[in-house]
């Protein structure tokens, strides 16, 4: 097995993609955009970088599909965790920024 040919992508190309994405990320925070848009842009850029690292540096692209499932599981769990924390988050928010929450939410009584 050790003598089998190892696949190596063009690592320098990946390096340039990562470098460019990092520069774009820093540029984005100074752009005159809505906070939400900046957040979405930053998240997608970070995810793009992470995918590049996992697929090419960690060779996930050349591995079996099942190993890909092992690798993607934490991302799914972490994403679900955000939803798990939402109810508690809203409860705290109502206390800390009660006035703001009261104006944006419909009255319940």
């Amino acid at each position: 097995m050790a003598t089998a040919e190892h696949k190596h992508p063009n690592y320098m190309a990946i390096f340039w993609y990562l470098a460019i994405l990092t520069v774009v990320e820093i540029a984005v925070i100074y752009m005159p955009l809505a906070k939400f848009t900046i957040g979405v842009l930053l998240c997608s850029l970070a995810l793009g970088k992470a995918v590049l690292v996992a697929m090419y540096f960690m060779h996930l692209r050349f591995e079996t599909r099942a190993l890909g499932l092992v690798a993607i599981t934490p991302l799914v769990i972490a994403t679900l965790l955000i939803f798990v924390l939402l109810p508690d988050g809203f409860a705290v928010m109502k206390r800390t920024v009660g006035v703001k929450a009261a104006t944006t939410e419909p009255a319940k009584h």
Partner: protein
């Protein structure tokens, strides 16, 4: 499964169906998956605390973006030297592989020093925190540097470059994962 077992008898299978090269690679991936859940939890906790806080400061107004951007770039570079080292090892050039592994460890060491500098700076300004992803990634890199130095010794000691290809690839997985976590930390804790 029983068919496979009877075919091979009592001998332990040499290959994992998930990672045909070695079980070690599968082991590292599973470790990293567990580690990733840990980091994911820390980041989600950070997000929840920040989202529900009424007066969370803007990170890039408090933390130095330039130095951190430089550190991010440094880690990306060290990931490239890591894969280059692996590539040279695949081509059978042991000394070039060791040289690139050394560059990778050096990049990690510089990263740790810059982090230490930034931390002392922040502590002097009255910040005392522990147990956040930011600090955890620092431990990740420190461990990684030690791991890389150990792997360099493995490569140097084994006569055949092919024999050390797998351990180096597994070490690379760890190193790139640290890079990946830092990409997330940089985005979520410094930029966002």
């Amino acid at each position: 499964m029983s068919q496979v077992a009877s075919m091979h008898g009592a001998v332990e299978p040499a290959e994992s169906p998930l990672t045909p090269e070695s079980w070690g690679k599968l082991g590292m991936w599973i470790f990293l998956a567990g580690d990733a859940v840990g980091f994911g939890t820390l980041l989600a906790g950070y997000g929840a605390m920040r989202a529900t806080s009424a007066d969370w400061p803007s990170p890039y107004a408090v933390l130095g973006i330039n130095l951190t951007a430089l550190m991010t770039f440094l880690l990306i570079c060290s990931s490239v030297t890591m894969v280059k080292g692996l590539e040279w090892l695949g081509k059978g050039d042991k000394s070039k592989a060791i040289r690139f592994l050394f560059f990778t460890a050096l990049g990690g060491a510089i990263f740790v020093s810059l982090q230490a500098y930034e931390w002392t700076h922040l502590i002097h300004r009255g910040l005392h925190i522990n147990g956040n992803p930011w600090g955890a990634s620092l431990f990740g890199v420190t461990g990684g540097v030690i791991y890389l130095l150990a792997i360099m010794r493995v490569v140097a000691r084994r006569p055949s470059p092919a024999a050390s290809y797998n351990p180096v690839e597994i070490a690379g997985l760890y190193w790139h994962f640290v890079d990946l976590v830092w990409i997330m930390v940089f985005t979520f804790m410094y930029l966002l």
